[in-house]
Symmetry: C2
Subunit: 190 residues, 2 copies
DNA sequence: TCAGGGTCTGACCGATCGGTCAGGCATGCT
DNA sequence: AGCATGCCTGACCGATCGGTCAGACCCTGA
């Protein structure tokens, strides 16, 4: 199966995207991807060092922007952190719906691997920000429900237009988030 | 490793619960369970027909109550359906936190198997009820965010006392759910 | 004493997984 | 022509998976 142009790499990426989205990362074998492309499994491993390299390349843009959101969050507290986190996360989730769908359900498990430890930490900071940097259980619960729920919903509604999905999520987040005081922990006002 | 009393079966169930909760259903091998119990893999398969039978036995009580909630939903529409679904689902999610944690993340995949097709249908009806039986995207989005978010949150906060978790989730659900007209489909007013 | 049934096990099976490797083929440079 | 290089492949590897099976062990009842 000789190919005229060296587009194989791109085709592998595209096929991997489809298969990961359909059956998950763990549920997709290199053979599955190779079959969909129409090449051999060895060819897939010629273009990518291993299965994980495929996933990381697919997720790279999303991770970059997630880190940017995390950076934008530093220094913010209370309501400001809450709103920045909510708006920023909804935006990311909507735009990177496909990427979220790729690792659907396998998020907790993938995060446990050391390579993704920093993402784990980012998502924790995101949760704290959404909770307005409060330890109050109700705020933590609301923050986690939103984070997890928005991710899953975006993965589920891959075909809904951005213009419908985004405002619906933003409105929901505004309704759901508990208002918090401006200086939450041990607040004395500066 | 002879055992004095025939408690092996129970020990296997307990070990399976711990392992599934720690590394997921797919991420746990029969050998893992056998090692934790201190018996052979063959013994696990002597007491349970196969791996799936272990899971279904673990999930049976939760599934039964989920079906009961589904039954209580029939005939209800609009606000009544919304509130019954929200209260009922929060209650189930809180009480069966451990069971949710067992299949964490693998829900979509497990649902795809024909044995669990009826649960798939129940969760769809639950989502419709939470949305107040409306097709409006905003309502469907809110319903799915709540369903997925509450499940994940309960699985995450396994150690939070019911008395804290339940009211936090109920308050959140009440805030998050869009009010819907009483007779939603083909509505003209509002 | 012996038979039978419940419990448990090691050895084994076929399938599938991610990954390796030596080599084949086409192309383009020298 | 000869050679290097990029692309691709079949054959193969060790590991692990869920599951099977013949038989060993122990207890009980006749």
């Amino acid at each position: 199966m000789r190919r005229a142009e060296p587009e194989t790499r791109g085709e592998i990426l595209a096929a991997a995207t489809r298969r990961f989205a359909a059956t998950g990362y763990r549920g997709t074998s290199l053979q599955d991807i190779a079959t969909e492309v129409g090449c051999s499994k060895a060819t897939v491993l010629y273009h990518f060092a291993n299965k994980e390299a495929l996933l990381t390349e697919l997720m790279a843009p999303a991770i970059t922007e997630l880190q940017a959101l995390d950076a934008a969050l530093t220094g913010l507290t209370g309501r400001a952190a809450q709103q920045t986190a909510a708006d920023g996360f909804v935006d990311l989730a909507v735009r990177f719906r496909r990427e979220i769908a790729l690792i659907r359900g396998e998020f907790p498990e993938l995060l446990r691997q050391p390579e993704f430890a920093h993402i784990q930490r980012i998502s924790e900071r995101l949760r704290d920000a959404l909770a307005g940097n409060t330890d109050r259980p109700a705020a933590q619960v609301a923050a986690l429900v939103l984070l997890a729920g928005i991710s899953e919903t975006c993965a589920e509604f891959v075909d809904m237009p951005d213009a419908e999905l985004r405002p619906a999520l933003l409105a929901l987040a505004r309704r759901a988030l508990e208002p918090v005081p401006e200086h939450p922990t041990q607040d004395k006002e500066t």
